[in-house]
Amino acid sequence: MTAVIEVAGLTRHYGKVHAVEDVTFEVEENTICGLLGRNGAGKTTLMRLLTGQAFASAGQIRVFGESPVENALVLSRTCFIRETQVYPDSFRGKHALRAAERLFPNWDADYAAQLATEFNLPLDRRIKKMSRGQRSAVGAIIGLAARAELTFFDEPYAGLDAVARELFYSHLLEDYSKHPRTIVLSTHLIDEAAKLLEHVIVIDGGRVIINDNSDALRGTAVTLVGAKSAVDTFAVGREVLGTDVLGGISSVTVAGLSPADKAAAAAAGLEVAPVSLQQLIVSRTRGTVQPQEALS
């Protein structure tokens, strides 16, 4: 396996704001990687750093083995679709596609035209007159048809309706299967996108808190529901991600249970429910103060 992105100790401060703090990870070639986290967690800053649009305060970035900053060799192989892309006022949809054609060596104009038809995008309309969803569609089409070796999609579907999002997912998978490449997708619609992802990186408060294969992550956590005393007894010494109590009933989300542990929980009269990737990430990033920290 070759790593397309290698990041070590990466840090970016804006004044007192620690947007990205000591981040280390790799992204393997030809995988779809999800970059997940809450609003303001540092996802966009991280992608700007990886595409040479922001400068690191400390740490190392290697993209295709080189620093991306002012590096035409790296950036010509990279496509970054931003949530808030600004186009010149006079630009129409077709102008954006034509500009993309000049920028991206692997551009497929026929595919772009087919996508524009499927997304119902009025190519003759000025982009500033387009709806939010239509502007997002422009980005999605460029990101797909560019076929860049490394593509970043930063929240590619703000304002896209459910039908258009499904269309995007289908095309992303189909085109990725035909033309394998590395894709980094940032989104907060985790449940929708989870099945597309091979690898998941979750950042919270500028730090990486989960960096794992998504198949390995799924099913590692379960929610146990039952009488508070039984739940508390079972949860002792385990990694508890979240707790809810309602009268005598308690619900805890616990990480790292083996099948034998799950059977033991069921035998103790607890209801064992699987936790989806989205629930897992929500419970890890909820920002609740742990009881022991609150006491000290």
Binding site: E174, S177, D215, P274
Partner: protein, 118 residues
């Protein structure tokens, strides 16, 4: 797909079910990785993991450059494995649930006979 369990396990189980119910007979070709990925809207690496589970278990085999096929005797072996797991998976929870609401084993047996006969 059920979000809480590994998707590749679910892919493997669905293929197993199709072999057991006879819709994929021995020597028939299994959908390609990309077809499975497109159909279930999942990452191809996940689909590959599911199929590889069955290849390692000898349920499917690869013909280089052509695709995946159902092995001879796969159905019988899957049925035997599912029978072994049946008691743990279904009978034990059934008895536990029945017991919790005061249904005796004799009553439960009568209920099963009635259900099967109807």
């Amino acid at each position: 797909m059920d979000e809480g369990r590994p998707i590749f396990v679910q892919i493997a189980e669905q293929l197993e079910s199709q072999i057991i119910d006879g819709s994929m007979p021995p020597e028939s070709q299994v959908p390609s990785i990309n077809e499975l990925a497109a159909f279930h809207r999942i990452n191809p690496a996940t689909a590959l993991k599911g199929v590889n589970m069955l290849v390692e278990a000898g349920i499917l085999y690869k013909r280089r450059g052509i695709g995946m096929f159902v092995a001879e005797g796969a159905r019988e072996r899957l049925i035997a494995a599912r029978r072994d797991a049946f008691s743990d998976q279904y009978v034990r929870p059934l008895v536990a649930h029945a017991n919790a609401i005061g249904i005796t084993p004799t009553q439960l047996a009568a209920m099963i006979r009635k259900e099967a006969g109807s």
